[in-house]
């Protein structure tokens, strides 16, 4: 619940082309609050993660309070509240994939990327692996997401190539 104190000067996200993009998004909804989820996606795309400071900027841009934005950010698991590795990997381990070996895939990824524990970032900063719930590709076990790349049918023997490809 505590936040780190960032002493570097803050670079606003919603300026120039990004602000223009936001204006387009705003046109899809009858009020600014409804644009919150897409706005947070833009912010995460630009900044890599959503800090308290960015939440405050998003709040200002949409006429909301920072606390309100934070309540929304912390609800949805795909918004990062702290920096993550260059490759953010989501591994499904819910029952349909679980009975098809998902936990072994997770274990292989954790070991071979050096991330160690689920949720932790590897020492070289390149990998954060997390366990997630059903990714909606149960017929193609085990599906994983590497950033925005949705990869199906991952098995432990395919992990070394995968790690090499993305490193």
């Amino acid at each position: 619940m505590s936040t780190s104190h960032d002493t570097t000067e803050y670079q606003p996200v919603f300026v120039g082309k990004v602000l223009e993009e936001l204006q387009t998004v705003l046109q899809r909804y009858p009020n600014k609050q409804a644009a919150l989820l897409p706005t947070l996606w833009i912010a995460q795309r630009e900044a890599g993660w959503i800090s308290d400071r960015i939440m405050a900027e998003v709040a200002e841009v949409l006429g909301l309070t920072p606390a309100y934005v934070k309540g929304v950010v912390t609800f949805y698991t795909m918004y990062h509240q702290h920096p993550v590795g260059k490759n953010f990997v989501q591994v499904c381990t819910t029952s349909p994939c679980n009975i098809c070996g998902a936990e072994a895939v997770l274990k292989a990824l954790l070991e071979q990327t050096g991330a160690g524990d689920a949720g932790a970032t590897s020492p070289d900063g390149k990998w954060t692996i997390v366990e997630v719930e059903c990714l909606g590709a149960c017929g193609f076990p085990t599906p994983i997401l590497v950033n925005d790349d949705f990869i199906e049918n991952v098995t432990p023997d395919k992990v070394p190539d995968l790690v090499r490809k993305y490193r």
């Binding site: 919150l36 949409l62 679980n98 193609f140």
Partner: protein, 426 residues
């Protein structure tokens, strides 16, 4: 087709005809395959007439609830006084279910066409397609298809927007989905008011599943009688359904069959049954929120809404999860409880605390530290979690627990009696 496998002769191919056909994703390719004829036809019809056709066809919601679609559309106000909205539920997150994503990534225009027809029928000016955040490929494909279709000007005055979710199963609940579009936490709403009276932004709203809407163009062009005729058992269950078969089967995938089809044939003939040397032990027929079936029940099930209920479960989303004799039912039920505990929105006391508590008890049993009274405790907590909350996530957590203890009690007792090695650390 039994995508990603070849079509099986016993399938009734309607929605899945172009799965795997890359050209069908393009506007031109879709039009070449007869696409957007239904929309053209529907836009010339009176909205009420479109609703009547869908009502007559017997189409029921394919997201899980099975509510008659035409009837749902008819709940919208007869007099148009306010903006109407259509929300398309592409949040597909029910464990075991993976059909909507195939519709989106192979036949995006089928969904867009069905969306536009539905919007016309309920007199909605705007439709939002809510796609779960993890569906990056369907999102890109839908974005592209939408841009093409808009450029071709096929939607009349109807505006269709894509809205991306951000990791919350509960946003598949229709009122939570609306809250999520409104830029709020994905909390389900208390009903009344119902969406048709006051939904998105307080306006009359209808929410439909992807698969439901993908069927609509076919109903328009081929007629309600045709759709109604697609029926193998109970006349209240008509049309085809994509069944997402996964788990311990040789050929997992999406299989399209007429409602009333025997589950036994689906699993053994089409999917090849469990891997060689294994026997089917259990099956969850409609996504993880419905009761687990034993092998006997599974082999006796006819796949329509009434048929599955007759065996003590529900058709739900049609996500068929198959467990063979190698599966540890206790562990998998724990894993499902943990799923619900992760996804609980935290509003209702029973769900917020109960999903976590039942998970802890399951974990303790798996760690070899369970007590006999834990089973009664789990059953009692499950009853307390059922029928008392804003939405049914709480009930859904209870379903596998109750059916699991009832039908696989021996596996639980093996852990309790120390006859089975603990698989978790206490």
């Amino acid at each position: 087709m039994g995508f990603p496998h070849k079509s099986h002769p016993k399938e009734t191919v309607v929605l899945s005809q172009y799965f795997g056909d890359a050209e069908a994703r393009t506007y031109k390719g879709w039009v070449k395959r007869g696409g957007y004829e239904a929309l053209t036809q529907a836009l010339k019809m009176d909205p009420a007439a479109v609703t009547d056709v869908v009502k007559e066809s017997g189409l029921r919601g394919r997201g899980g609830a099975g509510f008659p679609t035409g009837l749902k559309w008819s709940f919208m106000p007869k007099e148009k006084k306010k903006p109407h909205y259509l929300c398309v539920n592409a949040d597909e997150s029910e464990p075991g279910t993976f059909k909507d994503r195939e519709i989106m990534r192979w036949t995006p225009h089928a969904l867009l066409e069905g969306t536009a027809i539905a919007a016309h029928a309920i007199r909605a000016e705007i439709a939002y397609i809510y796609i779960r955040g993890e569906f990056t490929e369907p999102w890109t494909i839908m974005e592209h298809a939408l841009a093409e279709a808009n450029a071709a000007g096929v939607f009349g005055g109807i505006k269709i927007y894509l809205h991306r979710g951000a990791g919350a199963y509960i946003c598949g609940e229709e009122t939570a989905l609306m809250n999520s579009i409104e830029g709020k936490r994905g909390n389900p709403r208390i009903k009344p008011p119902f969406p048709a009276a006051a939904g998105l932004f307080g306006m009359p709203t209808t929410i439909n599943n992807v698969e439901t809407l993908a069927a609509v163009p076919h109903i328009i062009t081929r007629g309600a009688a045709w759709y109604k005729g697609l029926c193998l058992s109970n006349p209240k269950s008509t049309g085809t359904k994509l069944f997402s078969v996964c788990g311990h089967v040789q050929r997992p995938g999406n299989y399209e069959v007429t409602l009333g089809f025997p589950l036994k044939d689906l699993l053994y003939d089409m999917c090849g049954g469990p891997p060689a040397g294994r026997t089917l032990k259990a099956c969850i027929p409609g996504g993880s929120s419905v009761p687990i079936l034993t092998r006997e029940e599974t082999e006796a099930t006819l796949l329509d809404y009434e048929g599955v209920v007759a065996q003590g479960s529900m058709l739900g989303s049609g996500g068929v999860i198959v467990f063979d004799d190698s599966a540890d039912m206790v562990y998998q039920i724990m894993r499902l409880a943990r799923f619900y505990a992760h996804e609980s929105c935290a509003q209702c006391t029973q769900c917020r605390e109960g999903t976590a508590w039942t998970t802890k008890i399951m974990e303790r049993i798996l760690a070899g530290q369970g007590k006999t009274k834990d089973l009664d405790l789990l059953l009692d907590l499950s009853e307390n979690m059922t029928g008392k909350t804003i939405c049914v996530l709480s009930d859904s957590c209870a379903a596998p627990i109750v059916s699991g203890i009832k039908k696989f009690r021996g596996e639980f007792e093996a852990y309790l009696a120390g006859k089975r090695q603990p698989v978790m650390v206490g």
